[in-house]
């Protein structure tokens, strides 16, 4: 798969690579594959790679002396990259308690979208979501794949405090708040799984191209899991799947 990419200088130390402007898993796979090949070829020259919906930004350790030369090298890596190194995504299963005590906007969403709460939970947890990238907050995953019946506009005035672990819907997106923060998304549940831990390397278990599925648990299971996590007895595991 060879796509027509656009390369742009982005300040003195970065190059922005853009794909056709759309959200698609096929583009994401190409971005992740290209990123891995760039890191393999130029690891010591690069400080960060930032994935967007249809973009990849390469941050260099030092100023780029000649953008034309550097962009030619990147083009060459893209055209000669093998596909066997292509990312086989990891599927992370995330237990979520959709109890009304956590999902404080469930009733409102159910009334407005005329969907029973059980149906909201089923639609939300049946889908396998794609991690496009991580941004906004450390460990905040931009997930693709929310069922259109669950699309729901953001609140007109954001809450000042959204609890850590809140599972929420904003427009056509769903996500998990990795820390307490202000937020305008509609809260439908909570997970005790930490999405960001400064003492782990890497600090977030997921990365671009991974898959996420939510599994409903009851309040009792939530608290049991919470204790296991607190005492360090719980370890999140992923399975490799074919995309």
């Amino acid at each position: 798969m060879v796509k027509n990419l656009n390369y742009k200088p982005f300040g003195e130390k970065a190059i922005l690579i853009e794909w056709e402007a759309q959200i698609s898993n096929e583009i994401l796979r190409d971005i992740v594959c290209f990123k891995q090949h760039i890191l393999k070829a130029k690891n010591n020259q690069i400080s960060d790679c930032i994935v967007g919906y249809h973009s990849l930004t390469i941050l260099y350790v030092s100023e780029i002396e000649n953008f034309n030369v550097e962009i030619d090298e990147l083009r060459n890596i893209y055209l000669t990259k093998s596909l066997d190194g292509e990312h086989q995504p990891r599927l992370w299963t995330i237990p979520v308690c959709y109890d009304a005590g956590f999902g404080i906007d469930l009733v409102h969403l159910s009334n407005t979208n005329k969907l029973p709460i059980e149906q909201i939970i089923k639609l939300h947890s049946d889908t396998i979501y794609t991690v496009h990238f991580i941004g906004f907050l450390p460990g905040f995953l931009y997930l693709g794949g929310l069922d259109s019946q669950l699309h729901f506009p953001r609140k007109s005035s954001p809450r000042l405090r959204v609890k850590k672990g809140s599972v929420a819907i904003g427009g056509s997106q769903t996500g998990v708040y990795p820390q307490q923060s202000a937020g305008g998304w509609n809260i439908i549940g909570n997970t005790p799984i930490p999405f960001f831990n400064v003492h782990q390397n890497p600090p977030c278990f997921a990365s671009s191209g991974d898959k996420i599925q939510f599994v409903p648990i009851d309040v009792e299971a939530y608290h049991k899991l919470e204790q296991e996590i607190e005492s360090g007895r719980f370890h999140l595991k992923a399975q490799r799947i074919n995309d």
Binding site: K8, P9, F10, Q22, G52, L59, I134, F136
Partner: protein, 285 residues
């Protein structure tokens, strides 16, 4: 060790920031004015990655619980040790029990206090830079004890011949490369960007500086993509926001300009009401 007697308006520990974790949503952080901070470490013969105190708008008071060499660079907040003025840009030996205070502003916005060997607060994800959501502390507070290395040097070379060119702090020109979405702007918008005298709004902090003068905007929204310190975003309402060191790693507003590293440093020494003009740089291709 150093004891904080008064924290000042906004004082943090910073180094050259976090690298390698932007893909997990971790901000770069680090000193707002890298120029001044590097200079302070250089004069003390520290490594350039050594952590320093970034003092915004002065007002802080520190008690030294040991002898140590320090060096203050950047903004001038009339630094005094036990009520006696000390010079900027010069290593100075501070005696145990002395009190350093930063008070009245002369120029600039951010001062850097470096100590010999650097501040030894915890390194989290490869950096000591305070950052909300990453480090436990986000600003220093009265009563904090800041760890530093024991003083081993009897003397330090005070190389009086090298002078820092501090003129960038007064510069009213901010150099910027064209940003990824610059070419979506109309000729009028581009001309406005270059000719408008901009002023900094009261919404300015380590995450970003909002400007008072809007730029008429009819651009379509875009899919979220990377942003960097120094990225100038054009919001739907036409407000311009210049992202600074603690900015998020992604954003959804058109990125019309990208400040040069030197201009980020210059902007870090400006505050509410200060003015400048953009000078655009097209030379990349």
């Amino acid at each position: 060790m150093i004891k904080v007697l008064s924290s000042g308006f906004y004082t943090t520990i910073q180094d050259l920031g976090r690298k390698g974790n932007a893909a997990y949503g971790v901000s770069m952080s680090g000193v707002m004015d890298t120029n001044a901070a590097r200079w302070a470490n250089y004069l003390l013969q520290n490594t350039q990655e050594s952590a320093v105190l970034e003092v915004t708008y002065g007002g802080c008071k520190l008690e030294f619980l040991q002898d140590v060499y320090i060096c203050i660079t950047g903004a001038d907040f009339s630094a005094r040790v036990d009520e006696i003025s000390i010079p900027l840009n010069k290593p100075t030996k501070i005696r145990r029990s002395s009190v350093l205070s930063l008070g009245k502003r002369v120029y600039g916005v951010r001062s850097y206090i470096a100590v010999l060997g650097g501040f030894q607060t915890p390194s989290i994800i490869g950096s000591r830079s305070y950052c909300k959501g990453i480090t436990q502390d986000t600003v220093i507070k009265r009563g904090d004890i800041l760890p530093i290395k024991p003083n081993k040097k009897a003397s330090i070379a005070t190389n009086a011949n090298i002078k820092l060119d501090g003129s960038y702090m007064y510069n009213e020109t901010i150099d910027a490369h064209v940003g990824p979405e610059f070419n979506l702007l109309s000729a009028t918008q581009k001309a406005d960007l270059e000719s408008t005298p901009y002023t900094i709004s009261h919404n300015n902090n380590r995450m970003g500086y909002q400007l008072n003068e809007p730029l008429c905007n009819d651009l379509k929204s875009m899919f979220t993509s990377a942003v960097l310190p120094g990225t100038v975003q054009l919001t739907p309402s036409g407000k311009l926001i210049i992202l600074m060191r603690d900015c998020q790693v992604t954003g959804g507003y058109p990125r019309i300009l990208q400040l040069t590293e030197q201009s980020i440093n210059a902007l870090a020494q400006k505050t509410t009401g200060d003015g400048f003009k953009f000078e655009l740089n097209f030379h990349h291709f």
